[in-house]
C-alpha cells in the first residue's frame, strides 16, 4: 500500500465555482488516474420549464454571475427563432454584438490579470503567499490599475446595452429594447483608444510568456484533440456572436464545417459518467472514445480562418506561425485569450462609429414557432441554449451545453497529463506541485457551477487517494 504523505495546499482557488480534483496514486506512488469532478448539480434545465418564454433571457442570467451576458444572448437568440425572426434589425444585432464584445473583453481581462497572472509572473511553484494578485500589484501597480479600468470599461458597455450590469434586459425575443445614446457612445469613444493600447500590451505579455517558455508550454498539458467553435458563415472568420459550427480534428482537417447550429444535436452527443454531474459531449462521427473536443479561445484561434480586425488578425497569424499548425497547448489559451481581447476592443471601436447603434428599428416580428436554438461563443467557449415552447408561451424543454461542459474531457486530460508529469513518484507532494494541476484547470477558465458563494462554501477541493482507495489528504479553501 502507498504511504500516507503530508500534503500542504494553500490556496487551491482561482477557478469559477465549485469543483473537486481527485488524484489516484498506485502502490509505487505513481499517478494512476486524475479527475476533475463537478460536485454541484445545476438543475437549471428543469427549473426553467414552465417559465414564460419572454422572461427566459432574463432568468437564465442567474446561471452565472461571471458571464450572465452569454446566457442572456444565447437564450435571446433561441427566442428570436421562436418568435419567427431569423434576421434582426441592424440596430438590434449591433447592440447585442456590442454587449457581447464588452462582456468577452471584461471576462478575459479578469481571468488573465487576476487569476492567471500570479502563476505566470511568479512561477507555478512559487510560494503560495507570493502567488496572488496583490503581489502582482505590489510589483506592477500599473498592471493592476489597467486591469480594473479595462474590466470597468467592459462592464459599463454591458450596462449601456443591457440596461444593468446584472440581470440586464436589453436583448428581447426578436431584437433589443434600447439603442445607444450619442452621449454614451461619445463617452466610450473617449476611452476606447487607450483600451486598445492596453489590450495590445496585455497581448504582448501573454505572447511573450508563451514564446519565452516555449519548451515548458509545449510539455505542459499539451495533447492532440479536436477543436470546435462557431465561425462566420462563408469565409470562416472568427465570429463570437453568430455563425456556423466548424470542428477540426487534431491535424486540422474538417470533421464538419459550416453546420447550421440548429442541427447541433445531429453532430454532438452528450454522454454521462457516474462520477460527475457534468455531461461529456462528443462528436457523433468520431464516437464516444475519440470524439471529445475542446472549445474556447485557443480552439477559436485554431478553427478561425482569419480575424476580421487588423491587429487581432496579425496576432492570430503570429500564433499560427509559432504553432506551425493547430496549437494544442493548454497554456497557449492565455495568448489566444489576449488576442480576443484585442479583437473585442477593435470591434467595440468599429461598432461605436456605426450610426446604426442610434437607430430606432429595434424589434422584428415573424411567424410563431415552437422550438429555438441559440448558440454563441462565450468567453470560455461555445454555448448552446435549446428550448421548446408551447402554445401558452411556456417552456416545455430546455437543454444547455455550456463551455465548461464542452471542455470537460479536455480539462480531465490536462489534469491527468500535468499530474503524471509533476506528481508521479515524488517523495513529497508539495503545494507548489499541486498548483501545477490547478494551473492547467485555470487555463481553461472553467466555470464549474456558478454563483452560489455564501460564506462557508468551498470552491475547489483536491483529494489524494492511495492505492487502497483511501483518501490520504485533502485540501480546499473556504470563502
Amino acid at each position: 500500500m502507498a504511504e500516507t504523505r503530508l500534503i500542504e495546499i494553500s490556496p487551491v482557488t482561482r477557478v469559477e465555482g465549485h469543483g473537486k480534483v481527485t488524484i489516484h496514486l498506485d502502490a509505487e506512488g505513481r499517478v494512476d488516474e486524475a479527475r476533475l469532478h463537478i460536485v454541484e448539480f445545476r438543475g437549471f434545465e428543469r427549473f426553467i420549464r414552465g417559465r414564460l418564454m419572454w422572461e427566459v433571457p432574463v432568468i437564465v442570467q442567474r446561471l452565472c454571475g461571471i458571464c450572465p451576458v452569454s446566457h442572456h444572448l444565447a437564450s435571446a437568440k433561441a427566442m428570436d427563432q421562436i418568435v419567427g425572426v431569423d434576421v434582426l434589425p441592424p440596430t438590434a444585432e449591433k447592440m447585442r454584438r456590442l454587449m457581447h464584445y464588452g462582456q468577452v473583453m471584461q471576462s478575459h481581462v479578469l481571468h488573465f490579470f487576476h487569476l492567471s497572472a500570479p502563476d505566470l509572473l511568479f512561477g507555478f511553484g512559487a510560494p503560495a503567499e507570493k502567488r496572488n494578485i496583490f503581489e502582482v500589484i505590489r510589483e506592477n501597480p500599473t498592471l493592476g490599475l489597467r486591469a480594473v479600468q479595462m474590466r470597468k470599461f467592459g462592464q459599463e458597455i454591458i450596462e449601456a446595452t443591457a440596461g444593468k450590469k446584472i440581470h440586464g434586459t436589453g436583448a428581447i425575443p426578436g431584437g433589443i429594447n434600447r439603442n445607444l445614446p450619442v452621449e454614451v457612445r461619445d463617452r466610450f469613444l473617449g476611452q476606447v483608444e487607450e483600451m486598445l493600447v492596453w489590450a495590445q500590451d496585455a497581448l504582448a505579455l501573454a505572447r511573450g510568456y508563451v514564446e519565452s517558455h516555449a519548451d515548458m508550454v509545449a510539455g505542459f498539458g499539451t495533447f492532440p484533440s479536436s477543436h470546435m467553435s462557431l465561425v462566420r458563415e462563408g469565409d470562416g472568420a472568427l465570429d463570437l456572436y453568430h455563425g456556423r459550427l466548424r470542428a477540426l480534428d487534431a491535424g486540422g482537417a474538417p470533421i464538419f464545417d459550416m453546420v447550421d447550429y440548429r442541427d447541433y444535436h445531429k453532430h454532438l452527443i452528450e454522454d454521462v459518467r457516474s462520477w460527475s454531474y457534468m455531461k461529456f459531449p462528443f462528436i457523433r462521427a468520431l464516437g464516444a472514445e475519440d470524439g471529445w473536443y475542446r472549445v474556447g479561445p485557443l480552439a477559436r484561434m485554431n478553427t478561425a480562418s482569419f480575424i476580421d480586425t487588423p491587429l487581432a488578425n496579425a496576432a492570430h497569424g503570429a500564433l499560427r506561425a509559432f504553432s506551425g499548425g493547430l496549437n494544442h497547448s493548454t497554456l497557449a489559451n492565455h495568448w489566444a485569450r489576449m488576442i480576443e481581447v484585442v479583437h473585442c476592443v477593435e470591434k467595440i471601436r468599429e461598432l461605436l462609429q456605426d450610426p446604426d447603434l442610434q437607430g430606432s428599428d429595434l424589434v422584428a416580428k415573424g411567424e410563431r414557432r415552437f422550438e429555438g436554438i441559440g448558440v454563441i461563443e462565450a468567453p470560455r467557449g461555445n454555448l448552446i441554449h435549446h428550448y421548446r415552447v408551447d402554445e401558452n408561451d411556456q417552456v416545455t424543454f430546455c437543454n444547455l451545453i455550456v463551455s465548461t461542459t464542452h471542455n470537460n474531457e479536455g480539462m480531465n486530460r490536462a489534469v491527468k497529463a500535468v499530474a503524471v508529469q509533476h506528481l508521479s513518484s515524488q517523495p513529497k507532494i508539495t503545494e507548489g506541485m499541486l498548483n501545477h494541476v490547478e494551473v492547467a484547470i485555470r487555463a481553461y477558465d472553467p466555470c464549474l457551477s456558478c454563483a452560489t458563494h455564501a460564506l462557508g462554501q468551498m470552491p475547489l477541493q483536491v483529494e489524494i487517494v492511495d492505492a487502497a482507495g483511501a483518501v490520504i489528504d485533502r485540501a480546499g479553501q473556504c470563502l
Partner: protein, 151 residues
C-alpha cells in the same frame, strides 16, 4: 466613525434560494433612501468594487451565511487577504485592493445574514431567511443612521 458616504454592497444569487439574502437586504435598504447611503447589488464581489469602495468613507458587505447560529452578525473586516479570484473576492480582498490601487484605506464591516436553503436552483427566501432578513434590516437601518449622524 465619521462617515458621510457609506456604501452598502449586497451580494449573492437570488436564483439560489437564501444565497439571495445579500441582494434582498440591499434592495430593502435602497427603498429607505437613507441620506449618505449608496447601495450596490451584485452576484458577487469583483475586483472593480475596489474602485467604488475607494470613493466612500466606509462599506458594509451584506452576504448570506451558512450555519451562522444567529439571525445576523456584524463583524468588522480585519486581516490580510490570502487569495483573490472572481467568485472569491472577499471583503478583505476588496478593501485591500482599494488601498493598493487607489491608496484609500476604507473601513469595512460584513453583515452576515443566516440562511438555510442554498444550492438549489430556486427563487425566493426560506421562512427562516425572511425572518432573519427582517431583523437584519431593522438593525442595519439603525446602525447606518447612527454611523452617518456621527459625521
Amino acid at each position: 466613525m465619521p462617515v458621510t458616504r457609506l456604501l452598502l454592497i449586497g451580494y449573492g444569487n437570488p436564483g439560489r434560494g437564501d444565497d439571495g439574502l445579500g441582494p434582498a437586504l440591499a434592495e430593502r435598504m435602497s427603498g429607505r433612501n437613507l441620506p449618505g447611503l449608496t447601495v450596490e447589488i451584485d452576484y458577487q464581489l469583483t475586483v472593480d468594487h475596489a474602485a467604488l469602495i475607494a470613493t466612500h468613507d466606509a462599506v458594509v458587505f451584506a452576504d448570506a451565511a451558512m450555519e451562522l447560529g444567529m439571525p445576523y452578525r456584524l463583524t468588522q473586516v480585519e486581516g490580510t487577504p490570502q487569495a483573490l479570484g472572481s467568485h472569491q473576492v472577499t471583503p478583505e480582498a476588496a478593501l485591500h485592493l482599494a488601498w493598493l490601487l487607489y491608496g484609500r484605506s476604507v473601513p469595512g464591516w460584513v453583515l452576515a445574514i443566516g440562511g438555510e436553503a442554498f444550492g438549489e436552483v430556486q427563487e425566493g427566501l426560506s421562512a427562516v431567511a425572511l425572518s432573519n432578513l427582517h431583523l437584519a434590516e431593522q438593525f442595519l437601518a439603525g446602525w447606518i443612521r447612527q454611523a452617518v449622524r456621527a459625521a
